[in-house]
């Protein structure tokens, strides 16, 4: 039985999704190594092993992400924007807007009723609306980054970060640490600062409901809640799949579409 695959080589993590008839067979996240081609190979091999298939079974593969040009085995490459839009619509069919926050990029995508790409914006100005911002802040807090979200939900009086700049905000955090503010309040301040920045991008597009959030940062409940509050709109969470995998999922879905076209062409009339 032929299967399709999507592979998303990001700056920090490489993701692979293997699908069969619009059903996810396997999904894998590995840390991006120094060679994006090798990371992609590794991710896909692991995913194939997970579902007991071999590379020969893959009829079509789409690559995306920063390192997409270096993936040797893909049939086609597409931008992260298209892949995230596709993946998000699959998981949340009512989605008209996608906010994807990856390691070094923040993308806000607007879709039409059929899921067609209408417009998108990305962070050109400032890196503070990206996953890296959270990572750097978590490091200053001596916390693993995935703790920022849950901790911040317990905050009563979040701190305000004076600076938006990823680097200068660290000095702010240290100031709050020195002032002995509880960790959860600082975490909440970090998440709110991040959400404010993302909201500015999102508002520029005048987002329509439903909003779906993807990318690693979508796992941070603190950011998601803050963002919903600032936007005054509900954010639909991706529940059935790790939100980090949405780009790879979209790539696999686009691969399936392409495979379908190719197959139809090959069939005799």
């Amino acid at each position: 039985m032929s299967i399709v695959a999507g592979c998303d080589v990001g700056s920090l993590a490489t993701k692979a999704v293997v699908m069969e008839r619009r059903r996810v067979l396997a999904a894998v996240v590995v840390r991006s190594g120094p060679k994006p081609g090798a990371s992609a190979r590794d991710a896909l091999d692991q995913a194939l092993a997970q579902c007991g298939r071999s590379a020969g079974d893959v009829s079509y593969c789409v690559g995306t992400g920063y390192g997409r040009e270096k993936i040797a085995f893909v049939n086609e490459t597409l931008s992260e924007i298209s892949c995230h839009a596709k993946g998000a619509r699959f998981l949340v069919p009512s989605a008209r807007s996608v906010i994807d926050i990856g390691g070094q990029d923040c993308k806000v995508i607007k879709l039409d009723a059929n899921g067609g790409l209408v417009k998108f914006v990305t962070n050109d100005k400032c890196a503070s609306g990206t996953g890296r911002f959270l990572e750097v802040m978590a490091k200053v807090m001596h916390l693993p980054v995935d703790r920022l979200g849950e901790l911040s939900l317990q905050a009563r009086d979040p701190v305000t970060l004076a600076s938006m700049c990823t680097v200068w905000a660290q000095a702010d955090i240290i100031k709050h640490i020195n002032a002995r503010r509880p960790a959860e309040e600082i975490c909440a301040g970090i998440n709110t600062a991040m959400a404010n920045r993302v909201a500015m991008l999102a508002n520029a597009l005048r987002l329509e409901n439903d909003i779906c959030m993807t990318g690693g940062v979508a796992k941070n409940k603190g950011v998601v809640h803050a963002l919903a509050r600032i936007l005054g709109q509900r954010i639909k969470e991706v529940k059935t799949l790790d939100p980090q995998l949405v780009g790879a999922l979209g790539a696999a879905l686009l691969a399936a579409e392409q495979a379908g076209k190719v197959n139809r062409k090959e069939l005799p009339p």
Binding site: V9, S11, P34, K35, P36, G37, Y66, G67, E69, K70, Q104, D105, C126, A127, S128, T130, R132, F133, V136, M141, H142, C165, T166, V167, W168, Q170, A171, I174, I177, N178
Partner: protein, 257 residues
């Protein structure tokens, strides 16, 4: 007289203990989340190395980002004053001092008696600070200690231009994705950082001797790139770990009352 200088920075905590004008002991530890704990820990380590008790210290002078958090400091002095004092002690001919710390880069101009004439901090954007190198080392998976030697020369001349640390990191990731050699990427990073610092020094006009201190002074790749960008031969303390300069200055100020 025995005095101590304690410098609580954003990434490390340092102490120097002096007896009169001789260094009894020095210590460096990574900064803890709680600066009070950092201060206590580095002080204890210093005392242990020097073989003296805190009660033997006649004066403790604090400096650095976390100076307010040193509970036992009798006096606080700005980093600028401490660095200038430290530099004058081990390199009296220095007229320009560049100190690159974790969060900022300082340029200090001094007269023949070691008095601060003028000083400046780096322009907004941290691409000329120690934190920049730390983030890049992490992105490249190279240890901070090894990166200097690894990027000392380049085979292919790459360029990294973004002044935002995070965007610069994206450039590094792009270069990694293009499968460029780590040494060449490092070399490009050093040049980029050296250019930032050099323009800061130029704003105050350069006067020899130019001394470089701070943890990054130990990074040979950067050290050479900065010297080249400025067109001068840089000096760095030979007897002293260059990141101890601030703590040394603080201890000396303690000696002077």
């Amino acid at each position: 007289m025995i005095t101590a200088g304690v410098d609580i920075g954003s990434t490390t905590a340092k102490t120097v203990i002096l007896q009169d004008r001789a260094i009894l002991a020095a210590a460096v530890i990574p900064a803890r989340l709680d600066p009070v704990a950092s201060a206590r820990e580095v002080m204890d380590l210093g005392l242990q190395k020097a073989g003296v008790r805190q009660a033997d210290l006649q004066r403790i002078v604090g400096t650095g980002y976390g100076q307010q958090q040193i509970p036992f400091a009798a006096r606080l002095e700005s980093e600028i004053t401490c660095h200038a004092r430290g530099a004058f002690f081990h390199h009296p001919a220095a007229r320009t001092l560049i100190d690159i710390g974790g969060q900022d880069a300082k340029v200090i101009k001094m007269d023949a008696r070691g008095k601060v004439v003028q000083y400046s901090y780096n322009d907004k954007c941290a691409s000329g600070t120690g934190r920049f190198l730390e983030i890049m080392a992490e992105a490249l998976g190279v240890g901070l200690e090894q990166m200097g030697a690894a990027g000392r020369t380049c085979v292919e001349r790459l360029s990294i231009s973004n002044q935002c640390v995070i965007f610069a990191e994206t450039e590094v990731v792009s270069l990694i994705n293009e499968e460029k050699a780590v040494g060449d990427i490092l070399n490009a990073l050093f040049r980029a950082m050296a250019h930032r610092v050099a323009s800061q020094v130029r704003s105050l006009t350069v006067e020899a001797d130019v001394l470089l201190t701070g943890g990054v002074a130990k990074n040979i790749g950067l050290f050479e790139a900065l010297g080249q960008s400025l067109g001068v031969t840089l000096q760095t303390p030979s007897e002293l770990d260059p990141q101890l300069n601030g703590a040394l200055g603080a201890a000396l100020l303690g000696q002077e009352g």
